[in-house]
């Protein structure tokens, strides 16, 4: 059923709605954990455009259908697939047949994603209008500036008029550019239905206050059912990430129970070094517990957390108000997070100033730790983390100047810049 659904490009939620059942229930059916009655089977088959027998017969029938669809899409001139011998192929080479069928299903799903993205780029009215506005203003500025630069004997009245035009166009241009940047920055992936698994997990954590253990903690052994019920976790990949998160946060909670952690926090404050010493544990669980621990509304300190792997890819983002985190691509190379990545096991405390219209200061604690999950002969896996807290009022040793990511960083003259900014003229 799942193969067929992916093949026709339906989301789980769409099929569930059309069949009048919940997405979670459909998910259980798709994973062979619930039986389907004849009426529901007929409805599902109708929505998916296959006959009930095909749907009930399961995998082999789906593979057969997928192979037929692959054959139908093949170029027919040369090496045309022998459609009449599909059953023979399936019987003699079941492994190859399943592989070919799964490639066909995957290709169809990817083609649909590509179409959706193309559709968005081509038909997003705001994007199109904003870009048109930018190009029009730039055209006017370029043409008018060329006249002023290249015409020696220009009439003073014309000169004044062209200066005014350039001035007006520059305002128009900066407004259009700012609108475009904020749109691209803030637009939610949910609009496209193309959220990444990591973003699905972040949406789920944001709703559950980053502490699913405290909110509506799933009883041990029921994590799989729990993640199935979470509306944000639509993809299998996201549910897998969520399961890993649940397992790790449970370990952290066992290591640092709420009462003990709360008492230590009240005693030494939100300093991960002091907390680790007081609690007799490593820094990593303290970092995670501090960022996801539910504090009192009135005296709680907001805490953000980012983590990256050895490639520098951000693997976890818990936002801190005012500290913009990049949605796509890599972050600012000057983040203390990356310094920690380069210096494993060295704790780094730094006050940073984040570039922006109103620069903001934050206190950061960073740390990275190599692990050898496969034992002595296995590869080294490194995870770096950076806690982000409100900055103290003043520090004698000054702040480090950082940004969000080069592309949207207005800081000029930065020696670590890896690509020009769309916000800075001299970048």
């Amino acid at each position: 059923m799942r193969e067929r659904r992916l093949l026709v490009g339906l989301k789980q939620a769409d099929l569930a709605r059309a069949a009048g059942i919940s997405p979670a229930y459909l998910n259980l059916i798709e994973h062979n954990r619930r039986r389907v009655g004849p009426e529901l089977l007929a409805t599902l088959a109708a929505v998916l455009g296959v006959d009930e027998t095909t749907l009930a017969e399961g995998a082999e029938s789906v593979i057969f259908e997928s192979l037929r669809e692959a054959a139908a899409g093949a170029p027919t001139e040369e090496h045309a697939p022998e459609v009449e011998r599909i059953e023979e192929f399936l019987g003699r080479f079941p492994g190859w047949a399943a592989l070919l069928a799964s490639r066909q299903v995957r290709m169809t799903a990817l083609e649909r994603s590509l179409e959706e993205l193309n559709e968005r780029m081509a038909h997003d009215p705001f994007l199109s209008a904003s870009l048109h506005e930018v190009v029009s203003a730039v055209t006017s500025v370029r043409s008018t500036a060329a006249i002023l630069a290249e015409t020696d004997d220009i009439d003073p009245q014309w000169r004044a008029r062209f200066h005014l035009n350039i001035y007006e166009d520059s305002i128009r241009l900066s407004e259009a550019a700012a609108a475009l940047v904020s749109y691209l920055d803030a637009s939610q992936e949910s609009e496209t239905g193309l959220m990444s698994p990591q973003e699905e997990v972040e949406a789920w954590l944001a709703r559950s206050g980053y502490d699913p253990q405290a909110a509506d903690a799933p009883p041990p052994g029921t994590d799989e059912d729990y993640v199935t019920r979470m509306p944000e976790l639509a993809s299998t990949a996201a549910r897998k990430l969520a399961l890993a998160y649940l397992a790790r946060s449970r370990q952290d909670a066992e290591l640092l129970p709420e009462d003990r952690f709360r008492a230590a926090l009240a005693d030494v404050g939100a300093d991960p070094g002091l907390l680790a010493r007081r609690l007799g544990t490593g820094l990593a669980p303290v970092f995670r517990r501090l960022a996801t621990f539910r504090q009192d509304e009135e005296d709680g300190v907001p805490v953000g957390l980012v983590a990256c792997d050895a490639s520098g890819t951000l693997t976890f983002r818990k936002p801190m108000p005012g500290f913009a985190l990049p949605r796509f691509g890599a972050a600012c190379p000057l983040w203390p997070l990356y310094e920690a990545l380069a210096r494993p096991m060295v704790p780094i405390r730094a006050v940073v100033e984040l570039a922006g219209q109103v620069p903001q200061r934050f206190l950061t604690y960073s740390f990275s730790e190599p692990r050898f999950p496969a034992g002595f002969d296995g590869p080294q896996v490194v995870e770096a983390m950076m806690l982000i807290l409100p900055a103290p009022r003043a520090r004698p040793d000054g702040e480090r100047a950082i940004g969000t990511s080069c592309r949207i960083c207005p800081r000029s003259g930065c020696v670590a810049r890896r690509e020009p900014s769309i916000l800075s003229v001299d970048a």
Partner: protein, 122 residues
């Protein structure tokens, strides 16, 4: 009296700049700012060359171009199409619609002048 050119462009500052450098180059320039009655204006002005923006209020430059090419009296009028979309696909579309030349925005003033002189000469 120089050669007559009609510029159909809805962005007033772009139209003003083009008008200025064309006039200095000796052209007699008329401008119009929408697509709705563009065809009537072209017929009335009888330009030697037409500069036509693609995105216009009322009707698009391509619709106007299609009508021009279907009109026996205007089918051979040299038309320079201006577009804010600069991809090759857009150029091919303009040429298929009957444009004599295509130029993407933002353009260099010299490039427009050179193209128009060439078009008027031919």
């Amino acid at each position: 009296m120089g050669r007559r050119i009609l510029l159909i462009e809805d962005e007033p500052h772009i139209a003003e700049a083009i008008r200025f450098f064309l006039a200095r180059d000796g052209w007699t320039v008329a401008t119009h700012d929408n697509g709705l009655d563009a065809l009537e204006v072209i017929r009335a002005q009888e330009p030697h060359v037409l500069v036509l923006d693609v995105m216009l209020p009322g009707r698009s430059g391509y619709e106007i171009l299609a009508d021009l090419r279907a009109d026996a009296g205007l089918a051979r009028l040299p038309v320079l199409v201006l577009s804010a979309r600069g991809q090759e696909g857009e150029r091919a579309r303009a040429e298929a619609a009957g444009a004599s030349r295509f130029m993407a925005k933002p353009f260099a003033n010299d490039a427009i002048l050179a193209a128009l002189r060439d078009m008027a000469g031919s």
